[in-house]
Symmetry: C2
Subunit: 225 residues, 2 copies
DNA sequence: GTTAATATATGATATATGTCATGTTTTCTT
DNA sequence: AAGAAAACATGACATATATCATATATTAAC
């Protein structure tokens, strides 16, 4: 199993602020997991009991609404962590994490990380920074949900996926989401998401080939109202 | 001017985890401010350069949307703090803070608090906990915005104000918000908020006297769909 | 206290989005 | 490769919410 102190992934998250000794200690107690596309990493209401570091792949964090829809709140990609909020609050997860493609993650037990948070102020300050960043994102999403149209939100979702997760050699978005996933990001009915994507296609803003979507006119998407 | 080490307000927030020495040092550099109802404490995009501790009163945190509406993201009440996110990220504020009634706040300059965050792990862990709590709230709001009706969201907003800010002797909600404020919490047009409140009145869920609102049937409000 | 300004109220109508139905692809299974 | 299942697509219609107009009540200003 790989050693944390040599792992390059940590440079993308707060774990970079741990000392070499701390990393070596974590290395001995961490476990590594491979998760297949579609698999649930943890469920809403489940105790996580630790922190995940995503070595490869992407997952969605979602919360079941009373109306049966599974609202996607955030997407977590290679280099980022999973479970910070529950770790800090010492609560069960309020979100479900589901792999969007094949993933590799490391799991660090709660007690180890908590010890470091309480000893290493640089580490806890970094965690604080990450959480502050997440909070800003969440505030922006609230405003978008409240004030923008489905059309606008879907255009922004496409731009987001494009900018954060990149494209394949043929120009299609490298993260392949179902229409239902897009609906659950935007907070709309699946049929509505499908309809709007069809409109975007007719307007030559995107092209589609099955589940593969290619952005044809990024600036056009930015102008969507 | 009051001394932080003797102030009872701090027990409600992370400042309780500062040592007596740290509190005494902060006492010497903090400033106290009285803010009138309606006054803006800080604007969107403004550098805050410190942390506010709310000694008395309530304010709203809002963000201007492109469509001109001012979405309310959070309400901050006596005992809570203001400006943590910007403090930690060292960014200008992404939100505007506006007093909803007369307020008294203490302002602690950034450098002092940052010093404590980097020295006192208990304090930074407490801040982390508070931020984690805010993040959970924000995630819940996203799901509500995306999946619930205006009617439902407004019912929940009334319940929230009732449970968190209490009522006057006559039973009316002690925090008096305009219909526009309610619209901006719920994320709807002012006319829609007015209309739904009128419906609630006709259904005897609430009664109104000008801006004063009294919840007449809390369980009824909880059942609103 | 009177007037002006602002907030609340409500109707009429337009529009966006949800829901249900149905057909067609695409993907998965064996 | 064939059949079954799932995902995508689209029409028809229902419904929630926004918008615009206008009236009334409340609050603020002098």
């Amino acid at each position: 199993m790989g050693k944390c102190e040599q792992c390059i992934i940590k440079q993308f998250n707060a774990l970079k602020s741990l000392t070499k000794d701390e990393l070596m200690r974590i290395s001995t107690c961490k476990t590594s997991k491979f998760i297949k596309k579609g698999e649930v990493i943890f469920q809403e209401g489940e105790a996580i009991n630790g922190l995940y570091c995503v070595k490869d792949g992407i997952c969605k964090l979602s919360k079941l609404s009373e109306n049966g829809k599974d609202q996607i709140v955030k997407m977590v990609v290679k280099g980022q962590m999973l479970g910070q909020r529950s770790l800090v609050s010492n609560e069960n997860s309020n979100l479900q994490a589901t792999a969007l493609n094949d993933m590799e993650v490391c799991f660090i037990p709660r007690s180890e990380i908590i010890a470091d948070l309480q000893k290493n102020p640089k580490f806890s300050f970094d965690m604080l920074k990450e959480m502050a960043h997440d909070l800003k994102d969440a505030d922006d999403i609230i405003v978008n949900m409240a004030q923008k149209s489905v059309r606008q939100r879907l255009a922004e979702a496409l731009i987001y996926v494009n900018e954060n997760f990149g494209v394949n050699p043929d120009g299609t978005l490298s993260v392949v989401l179902s229409r239902e996933d897009y609906a659950n990001i935007v907070g709309t009915a699946t049929e509505s998401a499908i309809r709007v994507l069809s409109q975007f296609r007719k307007e030559s803003l995107i092209s589609t080939l099955g589940k593969f979507i290619k952005i044809e006119d990024l600036n056009g998407l930015r102008r969507v109202e």
